[in-house]
Each structure stands twice: as structure tokens, then as C-alpha cells.
């Protein structure tokens, strides 16, 4: 017997296996970041003084990073749409742009971190910076994870398009769901850390 519903949806649930799997994983990620946001709110409301984000952090750079991540989300969804329209070349272009944008995000982030270190701001400086470095650092790790998955789907993993196009399209959809989630987390991190 083979494992069923790797490509086709199971009739009664309407889902293929990996689709349910990734949503369950994302649910657990919601709880992970939920706990961190909870920590942030709790420490901030309990603190005697807490700087406003704009006093300590670089808003123009973070705005640029927001734009980069939003754009990469669009290229990601376009790469999936290209596969749905059977245009493999377009898929490769969009997927490559997604990866490049993700690297761009990390480079900008690197400059931001570097500048903070130059100013002598470290995680141990204050709870504000502890939260800032931990949350953005963990988000950065998720970006790196996304780069790894997307690079696999652009490189060696894309051979599957020739043999099992349906399954490959599913994989790109799943990777996309993860990538949009990374974008979603940033959409909340950005105002909470920088703008408030």
C-alpha cells in the first residue's frame, strides 16, 4: 500500500496531507510567537520606563525591510501561480526573486544590528533591546529557514516538476504558506517594536 493523498485532496476533508500538515505547523508557530509577544506585553506593562521604538530604532531601514518582505511574499505567490499556469520559466524567475529579496532583508537587518552594536546596544543592555534582539533574531532564523526551503525548490527539488508536476506545485504552495507566515509575523513585529 502507498501513502494516499500526497497529491490529490482527500474527498471528505478536501485537503492533501501536506496542506493540513503545514497549517498545523503554522498553528504551533502562532503559539511560539504568541508566547514571545505575551512576554513583550508583560515586561513592558510591568516596567517603570520603556523607550518608544522610534527613540532607539531605525524606522526608515525597517520600513525598507517591510517593503522587501511584502514584495517577496508577492513574488512567492506569483511563483506558485506560474506553476498553476504551467509556466516553469516564470516560476524560476519569481522564485529566484523571492530568495534574493529574502537575502536583501537579511543584509538590511545585518546593517541594523551592526549599527546597534556600534552604539553599544546589546541584548543585555535593557529589556527593550533583549526583546528587540530576541524577536527579530528568531524571525531572522525563520527567514533563513525559508531561504533554505525555497533554494531547494529552485535547485535540486525542481526536478520533480518533470515527473510529478502536481506534487511539485503542492510543495511550492506549502513553502509559500510558510513564507507568507514569516511575512505575517513581521507585519506585527514591525509596528510593535519600531512604531510604538
Amino acid at each position: 500500500m502507498e501513502i494516499p493523498y500526497t497529491i490529490q485532496a482527500r474527498p471528505d476533508t478536501g485537503l492533501f496531507n501536506a496542506k493540513l500538515g503545514i497549517w498545523l505547523f503554522l498553528a504551533s508557530e502562532v503559539m511560539l510567537f504568541g508566547a514571545l509577544f505575551s512576554t513583550y506585553i508583560l515586561l513592558r506593562t510591568g516596567a517603570e520606563t520603556w523607550p518608544r521604538g522610534w527613540e532607539e530604532l531605525n524606522i526608515p531601514l525597517a520600513t525598507l525591510n517591510t517593503a522587501i518582505l511584502i514584495t517577496s511574499s508577492v513574488t512567492m505567490v506569483m511563483s506558485w501561480a506560474s506553476l498553476m499556469m504551467k509556466d516553469f520559466k516564470k516560476y524560476r524567475r519569481y522564485m529566484a526573486s523571492t530568495i534574493l529579496l529574502a537575502f536583501g532583508f537579511l543584509v538590511v537587518k545585518g546593517f541594523e544590528y551592526g549599527h546597534k552594536f556600534e552604539l553599544g546596544h546589546f541584548p543585555s543592555t535593557s529589556n527593550f533591546f533583549a526583546i528587540y534582539f530576541t524577536l527579530t533574531g528568531l524571525h531572522g532564523l525563520h527567514v533563513i529557514g525559508g531561504i533554505v526551503v525555497n533554494s531547494y525548490l529552485l535547485g535540486p527539488g525542481s526536478k520533480m516538476w518533470a515527473t510529478q508536476p502536481g506534487r511539485f506545485t503542492n510543495r511550492v504552495e506549502i513553502a509559500g504558506l510558510y513564507w507568507h507566515f514569516v511575512d505575517l509575523v513581521w507585519i506585527f513585529l514591525f509596528p510593535s517594536l519600531y512604531l510604538l
Partner: protein
């Protein structure tokens, strides 16, 4: 091959989808600009939180609904996310409630 059928069904829808994606993209960039502009007004903390979180929720819903296709997802996924949302809320508010209802204060 059943595989190709799956894709063929969608190819007309997909072109419509692509137009939606572009519209969402523009909306997301516009909302980002708005929320950043508001931050330069240096509002006091309560209105600032309300505005920033409202815009973030709108942006998040756009990403979730259109890029992640939650607008037309299966019931089972909604159920999982509803459950997660309830526990997320518990995790957010109960510790906070404990801190404000503390005998040592």
C-alpha cells in the same frame, strides 16, 4: 493524468487571482506608508497602539486571506485556527490579568 486535471481546473481562476495579488500588494505598501507616517506624529501610547495594531491586523488579514488563501479554505483549517486563536488569547491575557491582580502590589 489526474495531476494535470487538477491544474487545468484552476488556470482561468489563477489569472483572476494574479490581479488580486497585485491589488493586495499595492494595499499592503500603502498601509505600511500610512502606519509609518502616523508614527512620526509621536502620538501618546494608547492611540498609537490602537492605530498601529488596527493597521497591522488589516495587513495581516490581507496576507492571510489572499496570499494564504484563507478566504476560501476548508472547514478543518478554520477549526484548527480557531482553536489556536482561543489558546493564543488565553496566553496573552491571563498572565497579564495575573500581574494586575497581584496581592503583593
Amino acid at each position: 493524468m489526474a495531476d494535470e486535471m487538477h491544474a487545468a481546473d484552476h488556470s482561468i481562476d489563477i489569472r483572476k487571482h494574479v490581479r488580486t495579488y497585485i491589488a493586495v500588494f499595492v494595499a499592503l505598501l500603502a498601509l505600511t506608508l500610512i502606519t509609518v507616517s502616523v508614527s512620526y506624529l509621536h502620538l501618546s501610547i494608547v492611540p498609537a497602539v490602537i492605530v498601529a495594531l488596527f493597521i497591522a491586523v488589516v495587513k495581516g488579514s490581507l496576507v492571510g486571506s489572499y496570499f494564504m488563501h484563507l478566504i476560501s479554505e476548508r472547514k478543518l483549517i478554520y477549526a484548527v485556527l480557531l482553536l489556536t486563536a482561543i489558546f493564543f488569547a488565553a496566553l496573552m491575557f491571563l498572565p497579564l490579568e495575573h500581574m494586575s491582580d497581584n496581592l503583593s502590589r
